[in-house]
């Protein structure tokens, strides 16, 4: 029997393709376009080839921002993921007003617009009228986020943890609720310790949501702009100037569209690469098991 090849189905993905084109491919191509030209004004542009790429690879200012960006993303991941799991584990387990209340309280920071989050912390951390800043000083710490780089970092990280740990906690909570009661009962019968219950029942079943949580938090924090911009404006000095802020300054402040576009593309590739690394490394163990299973059965 001849198998009839019918390629008409390809037309069906056309709407999706058009949508992705408008939302991602066309804007990205604009950036590609900028990155290979030297633009003076709307009518004057010269093709410069890979010159901007060569330049940004030697640009210290960009490298410093990129390094800060990595340090920031990894520190907030190192805090938010374990903390989110911990919060989810401590949440009430049965439906009721306590659960609803916890969920609402937890979701509140997620509902606040990003620039408002920045403003809240800007006031909150002030030494004169902010509760946090005042309390730190009253406890004897010399705390001033506008003058001291370490204090500024602490405040930015704290703000992000406050803003986004609830997301991780909510994801983990949903993952935990999906574990059937029978597992906990079996663990009780098997005399498993609290740690063993977490290690062998809860954690393996949280993996899927943790992959999502880590990816979301990495991508989001790696592109962070609004909150630190409002809170510290990147200061003191350049201490909390992250990559997207540096690029915005270059592109809009100094009208260096070419190098900004070139580095944006590198930025984009880094996000893609790191996300892919996270995803494959976290889901690799599962694939191994599947292979093992199918090979033996």
């Amino acid at each position: 029997m001849n198998k009839v090849q019918n390629n008409k189905a390809w037309w069906l993905i056309l709407p999706m393709f058009a949508l992705v084109a408008f939302s991602a491919i066309i804007p990205l191509m604009t950036v590609v376009n900028y990155s290979v030209q030297d633009i003076f004004d709307q009518n004057t542009a010269y093709f410069v080839g890979v010159e901007w790429y060569q330049e940004v690879l030697r640009n210290e200012r960009l490298h410093d921002s990129l390094l800060r960006q990595f340090i920031f993303s990894f520190s907030i991941l190192a805090i938010e993921i374990p903390l989110g799991i911990l919060v989810a584990l401590m949440m009430p387990k049965t439906a009721g007003w306590k659960t609803s209340l916890t969920l609402i309280l937890l979701a509140l920071p997620l509902l606040i617009p990003w620039n408002v989050v920045g403003t809240i912390w800007q006031v909150f951390a002030r030494g004169d009228i902010g509760l946090f800043g005042w309390a730190m000083n009253a406890l004897g710490f010399e705390y001033n986020y506008t003058a001291n780089a370490i204090d500024a970092w602490l405040t930015v990280v704290l703000m992000d943890v406050w803003h986004w740990t609830p997301l991780v906690a909510l994801l983990c909570y949903s993952g935990l609720r999906a574990i059937p009661d029978a597992y906990y009962q079996a663990a009780k019968i098997d005399r498993a310790s609290r740690w063993a219950v977490f290690r062998y029942i809860q954690f393996p079943r949280l993996k899927a949501v943790l992959i999502i949580a880590v990816l979301l938090r990495f991508m989001d924090s790696f592109m962070i702009y609004t909150e630190p911009f409002v809170l510290t404006g990147g200061g003191p000095g350049n201490a909390t100037t992250f990559l997207s802020q540096t690029l915005t300054q270059m592109a809009i402040g100094q009208f260096d569209l070419g190098p900004a576009a070139a580095f944006s593309l590198i930025y984009f590739l880094i996000v893609l690469l790191v996300s892919w690394l996270f995803f494959t490394s976290l889901s690799l163990t599962d694939k191994d098991q599947l292979k093992q299973g199918s090979a033996s059965s």
């Binding site: 029978a182 597992y183 009962q185 079996a186 009780k188 019968i189 098997d190 005399r191 498993a192 310790s193 063993a196 062998y200 029942i201 954690f203 393996p204 079943r205 098991q289 599947l290 093992q292 299973g293 199918s294 033996s296 059965s297």
Partner: protein, 363 residues
């Protein structure tokens, strides 16, 4: 190892209806028991109360005469196997089987030895180093059972319909295995099921549960011959016991103008009671059909005859009830009227659904 006693046990999930109702029962040490009953009769609840996963609303649970109500499953030292496989996905089969022993902090060498023993018993040697996640449902259930069996010094092992997900041919094999293990370990085992065949092949004694109560506890034979409650008569046997609602008429009982002969003890029991819920019951296996009327025979109409290979089930109309009679495969029935006879001792009297007036008490 322990005997398990339940005293005046009641349990309610919602505070309105009782899943378990004032239940008293003793499981002597070392027996293989089945807890048999229809879905929703409270079997699993009772099992979870015994193991300590659920604490009862009222009453006491005793292990070897010690009240254990406040004790956790761990303190009770109970092993339990659930209806659906519970395996620790992230571990290998070997680690799964060793898990309860590891939690008891036993010697590594000893654990290894026990795991091999159980793996051999359950035919799991070849998959010991596979991740438990990759296995089929019945292999997973074997692991669940293995974890229950691997501990030596348990008070009792409880099974909650453990063979639901298992292939029919494997079911039979595993049930034999469980029985072997029971003979070897001499540990109390309670096996919950809704399947009378499964109960009868596994257990020495069966407890039949109905509406939150254990209505009879006895050998498969006594459940068959002396059903203590109309539910046991109906539930055990295939088809179940035939019943007819009768009325008291001086010293005998009648249904549709037909009088039944009762034994002296039955008559005494009837006289002592003033209930109007009087039933007579007889097993389909104990009825004989004939073409001619004889002494103490009752006329019946034959409705249908169905052949099951080794025997036939005849559906008859009698006293406004539809009854079943089990006859030999080669018995022939034509359209002529038929008469039914039976041994008087096979006719059971039920007052308020409980057996009454028997010579020997099978309680």
């Amino acid at each position: 190892m322990a005997s398990i006693e339940l005293r005046n046990l009641s349990h309610s999930y919602d505070g309105l209806t009782n899943a378990i109702e004032s239940l008293n029962h003793l499981w002597p040490q070392g027996g293989a028991y089945a807890l048999l009953g229809p879905s929703g009769c409270g079997k699993s609840t009772l099992l979870n109360i015994i193991s300590g996963l659920v604490s009862p609303s009222e009453g006491q649970v005793l292990f070897e005469d010690n009240v254990v109500n406040g004790d956790s499953p761990q303190q009770r030292n109970i092993a339990q196997v659930f209806q659906f496989p519970v395996v620790y996905d992230a571990m290998t089969v070997r680690e799964n089987l060793a898990f309860p022993l590891k939690n008891m902090k036993l010697d590594k060498h000893h654990i290894q030895q026990k795991v091999m023993e159980i793996a051999e018993l359950l035919d799991l040697q070849s998959s010991l180093d596979k991740k438990a996640k990759s296995l089929t449902a019945d292999e997973k259930q074997k692991i669940s059972m293995g974890r229950g069996l691997v501990r030596e010094d348990v008070s009792a092992i409880l099974f909650d319909e453990p063979l639901t997900v298992i292939d029919p041919h494997l079911k039979w094999k595993l049930r034999r295995k469980l029985k072997e293990i029971h003979e070897k370990l001499n540990v109390t085992m309670i096996y919950v099921t809704h399947d009378q065949l499964e109960a009868a092949t596994f257990a020495d004694e069966i407890a039949v549960m109905y509406q939150g109560k254990i209505v009879q506890f006895g050998t498969p034979q006594s459940l068959f011959e002396q059903p203590n409650h109309t539910f046991v008569g109906y539930f055990i046997g295939s088809p179940g016991m035939n019943f007819v609602q009768v009325n008291k008429n001086q010293n005998e009982v009648v249904a549709n103008d037909l009088a039944f002969n009762l034994s002296t003890t039955q008559k005494n029991a009837l006289a002592a009671s003033d209930t109007s819920n009087i039933k007579l019951g007889i097993r389909p296996e104990f009825i004989k059909l004939a073409n001619q009327a004889t002494a103490n025979s009752y006329p019946v109409d034959i409705l249908s005859v169905e052949s099951f290979g080794a025997f036939k089930i005849v559906e008859v109309r009698f006293a406004d009830e539809t009854w079943f009679v089990r006859v030999g495969e080669f018995d022939q029935f034509d359209a002529t009227p038929h008469y039914m006879t039976f041994e008087p001792t096979r006719l059971k009297l039920y007052l308020d659904d409980y057996l009454a007036g028997e010579e020997t008490d099978f309680e």
